[in-house]
Symmetry: D2
Subunit: 456 residues, 4 copies
């Protein structure tokens, strides 16, 4: 038996390659799917089936791409009208080599969500592993708000059934294989430990301590998750099937002059440097999204119909940037700035900038009652858990649509948890004509560590 857990950084997505004899299956393949082909080739295996646990909303699934290379059969969950592949039946079984997968309908995160139970025909029928998609994670469970607030209660109740009446009864000893690890937007409290079992979850997972349906549903109703607009695009892609890529995009290194020309032709620029690097000076009208934030935030802001240009701290980061964008369906990555922002400076081309401010200086401003808007761009939950007094709350993802909440274009001090999301926000304010912007270094983390007052 070959067991491969393929982790895609950024969205912390986990896909799985299972092989036995000369047959293999892949569960939830990512779009840059050469890795599964290589595993198949190395082991002389034919990829027979591709299984999806559900129609994903946070990345583009690679099923069609992988089928294009291998002719495997794709299987989707029930209750959704996918335009490619086959629809499963509950308890449908699939044999490959001496292994068997049984599809288990486990709705709650989405209506068509499936789990897959692995048994080893060489032993007996007792389950060995379960692939739970976004239903059950290590330390958390899937979000149940995707169909809107009116449906959350019902979805939470379904999730309760799926977990307590279908998955946990498989046995404490069963190995848990979820679709995400820590860092996903699909479950906020996923544990950093990646290896778990149903029993360990039963004992350790905080949400599973709510063993009564009411308490479980209530817990889920109290959660707040952001719902980015690109989820719609992902859902559409994953329902209809995304475009097939011949190979990963090959962005071209562009001189500052060439870069500028592409900008003038309409390309969108993303600067992937860290906040402390971006604030000092950057190309006017660019989005700031730090490299490791691309998987979670690019989809909020970048359009799908324009070429994308990158400014990076160094060329060695290109491969990561490209993969992060492609996994979100951005296939037109035109180029990157040769020599990084330094090269731009050396051409004496115009730059823009805003201020970095320490929490100590912010405290002083507050104490001096300085006129300013203090903008908190964190999530609703974070805001509610405590914020800096006098601050206004707009989630970073919703900022472009809520600029009216920042009445005048005077001084704006932005913070988030660490200064990363606030840096995105600062770049958006800049694009919208705000002149005097401060990003708070270390943001709420620093504010807390400095011992300054937090209000609710």
């Amino acid at each position: 038996m070959i067991f491969g857990r393929i982790k895609s950084e950024g969205i912390a997505h986990l896909s799985y390659f299972l092989g036995s004899g000369n047959e293999a299956v892949v569960i939830d393949p990512r779009r840059d799917c050469q890795i599964y082909v290589d595993m198949a080739r190395k082991n002389g295996m034919n990829i027979k089936y591709i299984f999806e646990t559900h129609r994903n909303e946070d990345y583009v699934i690679g099923s069609k791409q992988l089928k294009n290379l291998t002719d495997a059969d794709i299987y989707h969950g029930i209750n959704l009208d996918f335009e490619y592949g086959n629809t499963l039946k509950d308890k449908q079984t699939f044999t490959f080599g001496s292994l068997k997968l049984t599809a288990l309908h486990t709705p709650g995160h989405t209506d068509e969500s499936m789990s897959y139970v692995l048994t080893d025909l060489n032993s007996n029928e007792a389950p060995v592993m379960v692939f739970t998609g976004d239903t059950l994670f290590v330390g958390d469970v899937g979000r149940t708000d995707l169909y809107g607030p009116d449906e959350t209660s019902q979805m939470a109740s379904k999730l309760y059934d799926s977990i307590f009446n279908k998955i946990l009864p498989l046995g404490d000893e069963v190995i848990l294989c979820p679709a995400h690890g820590a860092g996903s937007v699909c479950g906020g409290a996923i544990s950093e430990r990646e290896h778990s079992t149903l029993g360990l979850e039963r004992i350790h997972n905080p949400v599973l301590q709510k063993t009564e349906r009411d308490k479980f549903v209530k817990h889920k109703l109290a959660e707040h998750h952001e719902y980015p607009p690109y989820f719609r695009k992902m859902e559409e892609y994953n329902l209809r099937g995304p475009p097939i890529l011949k190979c990963l995009p090959i962005p071209q290194m562009l001189s500052p002059q060439e870069f500028r020309e592409e900008m003038e032709k309409g390309a969108i620029v993303v600067d992937t440097r860290m906040p402390h690097s971006f604030g000092g000076a950057h190309i006017k009208d660019t989005y700031s999204i730090w490299l490791e934030g691309l998987p979670s935030f690019a989809g909020w802001f970048l359009p799908y119909d324009k070429p994308i240009l990158l400014v990076m701290e160094e060329k060695e980061q290109l491969d990561r940037a490209v993969k992060y964008l492609v996994r979100l369906g951005y296939d037109n990555i035109k180029g990157f700035l040769e020599g990084g922002i330094s090269a731009w400076y050396m051409e004496a081309l115009p730059v823009d900038g805003f201020h970095l401010i320490s929490v100590h200086d912010l405290k002083r401003k507050l104490d001096e009652n300085e006129k300013m808007v203090i903008l908190d761009v964190r999530g609703q939950d974070e805001w509610e858990a405590g914020h800096i007094k006098r601050s206004t709350h707009v989630y970073v993802g919703n900022l472009e649509d809520n600029l009216d909440k920042l009445p005048d274009k005077c001084q704006v001090v932005v913070y988030c948890g660490s200064a990363r999301r606030s840096n995105i926000a600062a770049s958006i304010l800049k694009r919208n004509g705000y002149k005097k912007i401060y990003n708070v270094l270390g943001s709420m983390a620093a504010w807390k560590n400095a011992g300054y007052e937090i209000v609710k």
Copy 2:
């Protein structure tokens, strides 16, 4: 949490790298230990402790080598007088980052055998993983015969206690991390599936179905394992500490002429080709041990005080051969034959050979009552499970000491399970002056598949 399972092919040895924060531990490191150093460096971790589950007898432990590079502290099990490192106490605990390991004395395989229970201080005190060394495997348990037949019963009883009263009570949900996977000489029936939990073992592991002490001990007493002489060497090395290697040996490519000169100076030649390749023609007086058989069989035959020369099917196999030998403590690997055996032929240098025979031809010889010795070189268990009639049994590892059982040097037909061990045997007979030797292609597997008679 970083969890690395490092598999050393050949002996199917599993070592583990566990890291949290900026601290790491390694359990049962192998001797070519750069891999742990690389993991530490990549993660910015200090290897704080090295733990041994027991004094191994089937390979050279890499603890001293790794300590030489990292200054980690080595910990051994109790009841043995190791000449390096520290001795554990039962239930002694070690913290690194937010993880905790608790040493658990689990004798049975050896007297000083330890298991290590992992808990995650971020969750609660419930165990998450257990590292069981050679005490409990996926699908089997450790052998209990290492102290000789007089002690086997007592050791089996200790093993029963260790497993049923110490390990299994940790909980069905605990992830099992043993020291060997399928293919080890330390447990004959280890499963090919590498991922398991205590609960899966409780349910699936055939030996653990013997839940009564008597039946368990009886089962262990009925087992027969070979006890190679190199185990003593390994034990000595692992008790005193093996020599430190500056780097892995760099065997030199030798022309046939240079190769011959080294042979004349006393070097021992191992031909790592497969039986079907070796039998036809080979260099006189060489040992035949197929490449993947080196980890299990080199130690039976190769002396530790002479340089070793290799004949390989192709140069690309050198790295594997070197690692297999170094892990057994063979550090003086002088060279390999340039161009392989073809180059030897092309020099018109003398070759030796023996016959390959199909099971059908052997059947004919038997039916015709031809005068011959039929030699079965499989293990005792295999022999007892059924063999070809008229055959004599001597385990391949004991053949050199039991040549008196093959009275005259007439025709000898050798077989094993697949023709690999019988090829070793054939090469030994050749070295000892036997002239007319046949190795049975496919051996007992083919004999069975052909439907020929098996006697007990």
Copy 3:
């Protein structure tokens, strides 16, 4: 400036990646062309042009495949009606970054052969490198017999002009970049040293010592090269454009039973083991072509319209085998035998075999005047340089068409230079019903080294 020399083992083919600024060109890409894409991506370069030095006859060119991934423009030599890409003009120039390539018509090997002269626009117009395709190698020149014996003289004269009047005048200091290194079928005497200059060739290259046209042409007329039938297939592919591959084939590991079923359905089996391994026992009716001989010999024997199955010494060799076959246009590689030939033996399935014989035993047979056909399957040149008395000459590639030269199906003793090609021959004789076959271990090399008589 990025300069990449990409060597494809087996046919010793050299392709080149040249980059400057954000633009690159590739010269003579191979079909498995991900390597060029990776170089382009790593360096942020756009592959602007693909140049072919000539229509190759010994492998499938990757231009179309690479264009499919990158949209580069393909350029071919003049005088041939290619069905894709563009036709060059003599002295046409191409600029990329700060480099310039000038196409130079250098016929002789083929009529449309081009060389490409590199100049660095940052220095001056003096040439820096020249890419000579199959016109000039390190230590040899291209063959001139591809258009048949009637044209050889004229082609040799053209080659003389190309080398002496176009290439060498570029200057002693110019770095030579040919399309093949040692081991190619396109020039028998290519040096093992891969780095050279026009001056080093002028001084060291034996053929370039023939500075008078007459002597040069005479030298070329005296050469004898084999002309395999697959050259026609390659020419057709390279003229029309070969099929586009979505990815490299993924041969499936097949159990002996599955393997047998595919054979029965018409698949062709190639056994890539070495002669000493194949002779003893192999699957009936299989072709024996040792792994590293695939690039040169597969094309002589394997049909293009049937699935191919592989028997290999070990699974680790699959990647090489697949690449060798794909580069020759064999895209339908169905599977390989799981567990290698051992697994076949263990199933007690029928095997075939022939004898391996030492030169000493052959000498004895000759001295005893034994009735046998001695078959020399080497090339014409080798045969003429001296052979074993009483032997018959048929080149291995022509054997299937010349079986009438081996009158009866009695004992045949086959030899070549080293026993590899003779092993192919032996497998062909077997396929054609010859019963008693001997392959001579070490063949002519051993015969010579043993000091036995050679006749002309």
Copy 4:
């Protein structure tokens, strides 16, 4: 013949691995020398000799380290009393496989400088390659000022002889293999093209156009090179033999608190971020040396007797940072800041900072005649070629010793060619109590591109 050119980025150092048959030599090995061992092992070669072209002053040579692993013999140039290895004689020859190296005394860069001429015993005695160390580069020649101004003229004259009377006469066709590529501190004008021949240098190399001794010497006298203090340390190491490393250092990831504790215990911090990232906010009293500047600038500033701590843009850069430092002899690299500077901010720990200023703003300040010191920290040659008016010149490497040239601690505006060296300078000024510092974005490059006035 195996020819390996091993490039060490940063100092653009080139070392060479040459192999033939089963023997190899290494020329000018670097200290992290596993790469040569791997090449030897892969090819079954014994590294027989290690040759040094000269006692290097810009990095720590790896000869002793490599000898420690392989037992190769080390050879040094004449006229220096090395404390390890052997001293060469002029024209001494060494044979390995079928290759021959002849040592050629070519003083000028240093007194003991050697070149090595390669001939191929399979061809004839005509030279094929020459390894020129720091005597002749692609596009430049070695510096001749290392023994001080009084000796420069004489050394230049010796270099003239070495190049014109010893190296160039080897022949236009000989392949040039120097010890550095573009980016070295050992020759300012080395070409970006890495492949060359003696003939190409004769034609293209600007310095070699000075064919008369007088003009050549005059040209060399007019050059100005910096002479960093660490050159003495390198010379001492390379003369006596540097410490042997068991393995590369393993810096530990440190939390901000742990990092701060190490600082308090005396560790020196290097922040390897780019200027635009560093200026905004950094840990007080740290040196700023951008990552790719470490090989050239770390040696100017970092002490050899204190532990070093790193602040990096991201963890992925650690491997490069460690190698750069080890090659300069910094073996005590204690740790790096976990989470980078963001983590520091989030702890609300104190930070320092200075201003980034555009050339346009600097122009305005100048036009307004603002009171400030404008500091140019470029090399003497660059300064003389033109600078910004009112500026003071102190080379960055000499700044700590020349702070008296900056009379008061008022406003200092620093610039260099691109803002990198000026950022180092700014960090030094900060360490020395200067309060108001501006680093000019894009520096002289931007100043020029903006069309502002340059004075001489």
